[in-house]
């Protein structure tokens, strides 16, 4: 029992409140799994094994069941990521508009490949499916920010201004 209490304490009071607010409007605690994972990730950047255990305890479900959910969804990170996650659209409209050349330029600019994080911990670069801004292709998101009309020449400027 004491173990369990300690594990829950990994979550902050704020995180617990936010998770409980989600639990309040659904029929059972486990149904808040994805929201709970997102809440914790929003605060910590990713979901560590420790966080996962704490969330599972909070939702009264097994760690394994929660991990099978966490690893199913591509927006839940089970590994540390940089301060800014870049998601570069690789779907068909962006492809037609030259996203492969843009991707190569981003990789060159940051010195990393897809799925990698820069040595200074600033950026993680991930491919993403269609971001729903196809009339402004090619596009990417940097954190919450949508960046459109990308070209090989605009990458440096697009990544300026992030700390």
């Amino acid at each position: 029992m004491s173990d369990q209490i300690q594990l829950v304490e990994v979550l902050s009071a704020e995180e617990i409140d936010l998770i409980e607010a989600e639990v309040a409007h659904i029929p059972d605690r486990q149904s808040a799994a994805i929201e709970a994972l997102r809440i914790v990730q929003d605060k910590r950047g990713w979901v560590s094994d420790e966080s996962l255990r704490a969330i599972a305890t909070q939702l009264e479900m097994s760690i394994e069941a929660l991990d099978s959910i966490a690893t199913f969804y591509n927006l839940i990170f089970r590994q540390p990521v940089g301060r800014h996650v870049i998601m570069l659209c690789d779907s068909v409209s962006c492809f037609v508009m030259g996203s492969e050349q843009v991707r190569d330029k981003v990789c060159e600019h940051l010195g990393i490949g897809l799925g990698e994080t820069t040595a200074d911990g600033k950026y993680t670069l991930l491919p993403i499916v269609c971001l729903g801004a196809c009339d402004r292709a090619p596009v990417m998101t940097v954190g919450d920010k949508l960046v459109t009309h990308l070209s090989q020449d605009s990458i440096g400027e697009a990544l300026d201004g992030f700390e």
Binding site: I26, I76, S91, V92, V129, C130, C134, D135
Partner: protein
């Protein structure tokens, strides 16, 4: 000049010159349709109007909305009834729902309010793509504004009807767009499709009656109630009713979205509204309604009306109505790799033909593109695409959707596939070979 009688979906945004907030929405007659319905009409009457108007689902399948609403049991056992908006816009090439939610969130809320009243739902969810940050911000604010006015929550407009509306931000994955996978995700589970039957109107979210409709579908509802069935039916050019948000992406002069009478010909959308192809580029193929629709070609299909029946008769689907254009600088094998990579990656992994078959198709295409194709490959590709694509061979329609662009690419761009194999390289890439 924008006109709400001919452009009930996007006209308000044009009039406002951008975001339609609650005050602007109400100044243009917003929430009157819901108010009238809830205070003066009945759920049955609202269902009848939507059925008579012949509103069909705008998410891709085109199922009649009023008919779907009618599937909710008339005397359900005690408990919640759920209304869910599928705002998990992830069909590659589709960008209409994002626009509606970012700029006119109250029209979605009002459409859902009317829908909830019509089916007796007391809980409603918007299942939204996790990557749609701005749409979340705008819709979340709009929900709070509507709640503050008494348009959501208990005793809506002072009536006995009440509905709670909240947003679920998705954790990702294209399969969440499949209705029953979406419900599993809403329940916090892995988004794997469910066995049907039972269908969601009988047993959906948490085993309760549930209706799932697309964003654009809901946004059509207030106008139908305000202006009537005849008005709505007359908006369409052919057999279908209403307007449709059409979009074009690819190498055209003016990519974008336009609300036009449903049934507007493909040529008019591409040449007039999208401004035609950019100089130096020729149109070769059209994916009419997203990545999971069959290619059409300019030689045969430019004058087809963009409506459900016409596009289906040509062997494709109108899908989401947002077209992706393939120009002559794009290798048909390379675009097929791009499409099949997407579908292979997004398979939920539950059933074998989809989980194993789609990557296998992708790998075969990569071999052809990189000059390792063999003479018999096209026969194998034909046979396996047909097998994987046949409904019933897989648990849901994900792989069927994947094979729509594949089989049509093999049909219309066969010479390109043959040239790759004969030349042992990609004829579209200078030097060839390297992907």
């Amino acid at each position: 000049m924008a006109d709400l009688m001919t452009q009930p979906l996007l006209g308000r945004i044009d009039l406002a010159g951008g975001l339609v907030d609650l005050a602007t929405y109400e100044a243009n007659g917003g929430y009157q349709a819901a108010r009238q319905a809830i205070l003066r009409s009945s759920p049955e009457a609202v269902q009848e109007i939507v059925k008579d108007a012949n509103l069909r689902g705008r998410g891709g399948a085109g199922f009649p909305t009023g008919v779907k609403w009618g599937f909710v049991p008339k005397e359900p056992t005690p408990g919640h009834i759920y209304l869910v908006c599928n705002a998990d816009e992830m069909e590659p090439g589709t960008f209409k729902d994002r626009y509606l939610m970012e700029y006119d969130p109250h029209s979605l809320i009002e459409g859902m309010l009317i829908g909830a009243f019509a089916i007796g739902a007391d809980r409603a969810y918007v299942f939204m793509r996790g990557e749609y940050h701005e749409a979340f911000t705008q819709l979340d604010r709009a929900i709070n504004d509507a709640k503050a006015k008494g348009y959501l929550g208990e005793k809506v407009f002072g009536s006995d009807f009440g509905v709670e509306l909240s947003i679920h931000r998705s954790g990702g994955r294209y399969i969440c767009g499949e209705e029953t996978a979406l419900l599993n995700a809403l329940e916090g589970k892995r988004a794997q499709p469910r066995m049907k039957p039972p269908f969601p109107p009988a047993s959906g979210a948490w085993g309760r009656p549930t209706i799932v409709n697309n964003v654009e579908t809901f946004c059509n509802v207030p106008g139908i109630l305000s202006n009537g069935v005849d008005w709505y039916r007359d908006l369409g050019i052919g057999d279908d009713a209403g307007t449709k948000i059409y979009g074009v992406s690819g190498r055209v002069k003016k990519p974008g979205l336009w609300e036009l009478p449903i049934g507007t010909p493909i040529r008019e959308i591409i040449e007039q509204h999208a401004g035609g192809m950019q100089d130096g580029y020729q149109l070769r193929g059209i994916l009419p309604g997203g990545a999971s629709t069959e290619f059409l070609i300019p030689e045969e299909h430019m004058d087809l009306p963009m409506d459900y029946a016409s596009i289906q008769a040509a062997g494709s689907r109108m899908g989401t109505g947002t077209m992706i254009l393939m120009d002559d600088s794009i290798c048909p094998v390379a675009i097929s790799i791009n499409l099949q990579h997407f579908f292979a990656q997004e398979s939920c992994g539950f059933c074998t033909p989809c989980r194993e078959g789609l990557p296998w198709i992708e790998n075969m295409l990569i071999d052809i593109e990189q000059g390792r194709g063999q003479a018999e490959d096209l026969d194998v590709l034909d046979r396996n695409s047909a097998f994987i694509g046949a409904p019933g061979n897989t648990f849901c329609l994900h792989a069927t959707g994947a094979m729509e662009p594949m089989l049509s690419a093999l049909k219309y761009f066969r010479d390109d596939f043959v040239a790759h194999i004969e030349q042992g390289r990609c004829p579209h890439r200078a030097g060839g070979g390297e992907s």
